[in-house]
């Protein structure tokens, strides 16, 4: 009986862990999609500045890179490469 309970607990935990797996993205996007879309809907100077700020943030503060070697090779030495 104890063994069955023990096995059930392990099975439940395994299910829990697999279901908690979040989708890992290649890059950190911050608020890019919304900011870009807002600018597209109404292209004002203020929104353009926000888009450019987003681009800068995307290139400067990447925290989710999985493919570090390729990224650093292609982007040059000036980019700050963070480990995921």
């Amino acid at each position: 009986m104890k063994r069955t309970i023990y096995l059930s607990v392990i099975a439940t935990m395994a299910l829990f862990v697999t279901s908690c797996n979040t989708t890992q993205t290649l890059y950190t996007w911050y608020n890019y999609e919304d900011v870009a879309y807002e600018y597209n809907k109404e292209p004002t100077e203020e929104r353009q500045v926000k888009v450019l700020e987003q681009y800068k943030k995307l290139t400067d503060k990447q925290a989710c890179m999985q493919n570090m070697d390729i990224y650093s090779t292609n982007q040059g030495k000036n980019k700050k490469v963070l480990t995921s």
Binding site: Y27, E33, Y37
Partner: protein
Amino acid sequence: MKKIILFALVAITLASCSTPKTMGEQYPAMYEEKPMSIAIMPPINQTTHAEAKDFFYTTLYLPLCEKGYYVYSPYLTMEMYQQESAYDAEMFLDKDLSMFQKVLGADAAMFTIIKDWRRNNVGGRLYVDVEYILRSTKTGQTLYQREGQISVDTSINGGGGGFGALVGLIATAINTAATDKVVAGRKCNAFVLSDLPAGKYSKMYETDMKSPAGKPLVKATVK
């Protein structure tokens, strides 16, 4: 009678046993050419919703980058397209694309054709139908082609009874009206491009060749 049943059973078994195509079989040109960089072309809008073209254009950057491709910034390319009278992608859909390789250095150009882009407030649905065509700028051949017919269910259940149904109907109409149609466009990208072979910047690069490929036409309803 027995023979017919036996024949039907065999037919069903055979049909269910047919193996789906692999990514390598479905998109052989992608694995031969191995494009690294993609230029997103302005969408070809076949609907009456003029805004769909510009709105949908910006949604393509993120999913293509996430697939592991180097994608030219939509803002830079759009400005260039407008200056060089290349805003109408229809002109290039079946024409020579070598200029995009010479000017931008792009290996491939992603065309999208928006076939449907609408909202049904009463029914609580957003509909999009987009075809994606990736063409090589070197050889001009089609590397990838897939279409997505996606509807987003924005309905809200107002509860039981006549009053509940009315509440649900109003809530659904409000929710549908408030939900931006671009949401459906993004979901369509996610569905359709999930089948795009991974690019060089992805960990899956050249390892997804044996993975099962999806159908050329994706139909789905998402919440």
